[in-house]
Amino acid sequence: MRPRTAGGLSRANAVRLGLMALPVAFFALFFAYPVAAIVARGLEADGDWQLGRIGEVLADSGVRHVLWFTTWQALASTALTLLIALPGAYVFARFEFRGKQVLRAVVTVPFVLPTVVVGSAFLALLGRGGLLDELWGVRLDTTVWAILLAHVFFNYAVVVRTVGGLWSQLDPRQEEAARMLGASRLAAWRKVTLPALAPAVAAAALMVFLFTFTSFGVVQILGGPAFATLEVEIYRQTSEIFDLATAAVLTLVQFAAVGAILAVHAVTVRRRETALRLVDPSVTARRPRGAGQWALLGGVLLTVVLLLVLPLAVLVQRSLDAPGFAYYKALTSEDGGIFLVAPIAAVVNSLQYALAATVIAVLIGALAAAALARRDAGRFVRGFDALLMLPLGVSAVTVGFGFLIALDEPPLDLRSSWILVPLAQALVGVPFVVRTMLPVLRAVDTRLREAAAVLGASPWRVWREVDLPLVRRALLVAAGFAFAVSLGEFGATVFIARPDNPTLPVAVARLLGRPGDLNYGQAMALSTILMVVCAVALLVLERLRVPSRTGTAGEF
């Protein structure tokens, strides 16, 4: 029902523009501008665009090797994640068992963990002197397996929540109807359930591919000199070799790849929104029956324990390895020589930064979601939907370095301002806020708003009286996600966090980069603290989680 008269259209336009103004300005200033500045710095010399550099860089065999590795490890990670997580999605969707809520939370914790923590955890499990090394003399940290397993660890929840969330709401009677029409059990699944699930599987796979394609922290810690993704290579070129031209070309390549992935994602998401008959998840789940189903449940539990719980347990154990909490105590002393302050100060810094970033992300994200959720949102606004996802994929390293280059001169000289770090972190948090808010806002029945309007509520009061009470919890969940993501942000922060104000992930990475048991132990201790903070934030969220009618909550 699109209003056609000039009056109706222009008023709707004005509201939409008003809502979009701040998000657009934010992204233009703190995303597009720094990235453009970095690309320009790399490719422009004496006022001329050196586009020939693109060809030269791409012809380089080292760069080609990085591109090849980035792509195949992302494909392999995605395939492995689907293979391991799809049974989990089924178990969570269709089985009812004791402790399911707790298990669901446990599975989600890795997703919000900082990449640096995951890197350290897998180092403690698979690396030199790690658990496997001690037990059987097996080391995987120099192989690609460490990276792949860490990627599965991270993205298990993406598949379980996106696919399982939809699966749990598919009406089982659809399959029953097919069976009454003569389809075998397998045929019914293949012809009815699979087609309904396919778009969700595709969307989850694309998100996993996106996250692993742009992986930085994990590969930086576990990859060693042998393995580098595009993002790691961009970091190396900018901060170690100072070859900005190569870095700029690689940024553009990553930008193009991420743009393509997001375009495909947008199409699959739109297809997923086609009408499916969804029902309340509580009516579709039941206790497992028969040996086969119990074995499946057992297998999934074992996977979760080995793959998700064990690395974190080892991390905690390593942090306690020295008698009398020595590693934790060392965090409070200033003589480490790495930072200008005691490492423990990073905890306070991180929390402050993350809080500021959360406020920014929620403000920007909520405005953008409100604009996107409007029924009369046109193609232009929906296009912005996809653009909002870009910060998830565009090189965080580039953004961080771009901040340094672009935002250091008047009128915007933020280089010495503390706000720089929260701004960069908020950039990554906004997509999560939008993803969480949008389905809930879209689920608010327009006629509920109309009912309020007819009873005399102005548009502003309609929002306050109808929308806000319904989205309050989603807003809190979004804030929690933004907080966890900001807390763990590494790629951009590593450039702009000042030495006397490190964040937790930056401090962990610095500690890991230095030799000696004490530094290693302190890294483990700091990672443990970071993990606990993120896990607590998430567990609070789990309690808040909104029962959603749309089946799209909690997925990325």
């Binding site: 029902m1 699109r2 209003p3 056609r4 008269t5 009056g7 109706g8 029945d445 006629r447 509920l448 109309e450 009912a451 309020a452 309007a453 007819v454 009873l455 005399g456 509520a457 102005s458 548009p459 009061r461 309609v462 009286e465 109808v466 009470p469 319904l470």
Partner: protein
């Protein structure tokens, strides 16, 4: 006139949903718009409420054009088809919503909520959650909520649509009584002719965005304007006929018609009560195809040779068995010549 609609037109993609509709509603009148789904009746309500801008034409309240008045300043009440109660508020919060929006003082709000809940037969329900209400109770709360700010005009969109039959029949009587007592001006839309006839002072039949007929329930029932209206009201005995004088040539033979009937080719309706079953060999020869028990009478489906089926209404003890051969004669008081032959 309290409400005047002149030439109201709304177009989405394709043919107009509202096509130059003119309609007046006087103070205190209960007007019911009746039409099949897709006839544009809900769009008409939304246009009056200010939720749907007009492409052309105008809506005036007390002679004042409402084009530039947004929905929340029009001072109208609208009861939605599926009630649209606010899920996060209790019954009292829902009823008080409009009062709060209009800035009534707190004490007055409470008093009015109590008064209205009594009026709709739910005294003391203010603290109940809306999720715990049955369909009929939700309907009553929605009504109380719409009435609370004393709207100039109350609009009802399929007010009883989702309720079961017996409840609907009881509520429609209650509603009419209530509106009469309060002197409320009402514009309702429904697809159920029983509801419309029981509720309205005036019935407006809509078809494809246009008004097909307007009149009192009795007028519309007795003289449907055309074959469409007749069929929509549930009359199936409609055929094309050629009228000359006091008789008409039809596929069912030569039928008597009332003296004031229009002459020439026209659609002709025989109400089932006017189809009288007599012994075989008299009148039109028919086979009984089916019979349906309707409570007060039996509807008998008759198959004449080489002519459209006929429905007859007769008493249970007179009803013939399916397969029986019977004769049919027509009663002139239940024969109506309709204006328009096109859709017969």
């Amino acid at each position: 006139m309290l409400l005047s609609i002149e030439g109201a037109t709304v177009r989405f993609d394709g043919p107009p949903v509202l096509d130059a509709v003119d309609l007046d509603v006087a103070e205190g009148e209960i007007v019911c718009v009746l039409g099949p789904s897709g006839s544009g009746k809900s769009t008409l309500l939304r246009a009056v409420a200010g939720l749907q801008p007009l492409d052309s034409g105008r809506v005036s309240l007390d002679g004042r054009d409402q084009a530039r008045v947004p929905a929340h300043r029009r001072g109208m009440g609208l009861m939605f088809q599926d009630h649209q109660l606010f899920p996060q508020r209790d019954v009292g919060g829902n009823v008080a919503f409009g009062l709060r929006m209009h800035g009534f003082p707190r004490a007055e709000q409470d008093g009015r909520v109590r008064e209205l809940l009594e009026l709709v037969g739910l005294p003391g329900a203010a603290r109940r959650g809306v999720a715990s209400l049955s369909g009929g109770e939700q309907q009553r709360v929605a009504l109380a909520r719409a009435l609370a700010p004393r709207p100039r005009l109350l609009m009802l969109d399929e007010p009883l649509g989702q309720l079961d039959r017996s409840l609907r029949e009881r509520l429609v009587v209650e509603l009419r009584e209530l509106f009469g007592r309060l002197g409320t001006t009402v514009l309702a839309v429904t697809h159920d002719q029983g509801e419309a006839f029981a509720l309205a002072d005036r019935v407006v039949v809509m078809r494809d965005g246009r008004i097909a007929q307007s009149g009192t329930p009795l007028q519309v029932w007795q003289r449907p304007a055309d074959a469409f209206v007749a069929r929509f009201l549930g009359f199936d005995n409609v055929v094309t006929a050629t009228v000359s004088g006091r008789a008409a040539d039809t596929p069912w033979g030569r039928l008597p018609v009332p003296g004031d009937s229009p002459q020439g080719t026209a659609a002709l309706l025989v109400r089932p009560a006017g189809v009288r079953i007599v012994a075989a060999g008299e009148g039109l020869r028919c086979t009984v195809a089916a019979r349906t028990f309707r409570g007060t009478h039996v509807a008998v489906q008759l198959k004449p040779e080489g002519a459209p089926r006929l429905e007859a209404a007769c008493a249970l003890r007179d009803a013939p068995e399916p397969g029986e051969e019977v004769g049919v004669v027509f009663d002139v008081t239940d024969v109506v010549v309709l204006g328009d032959a096109r859709t017969a």
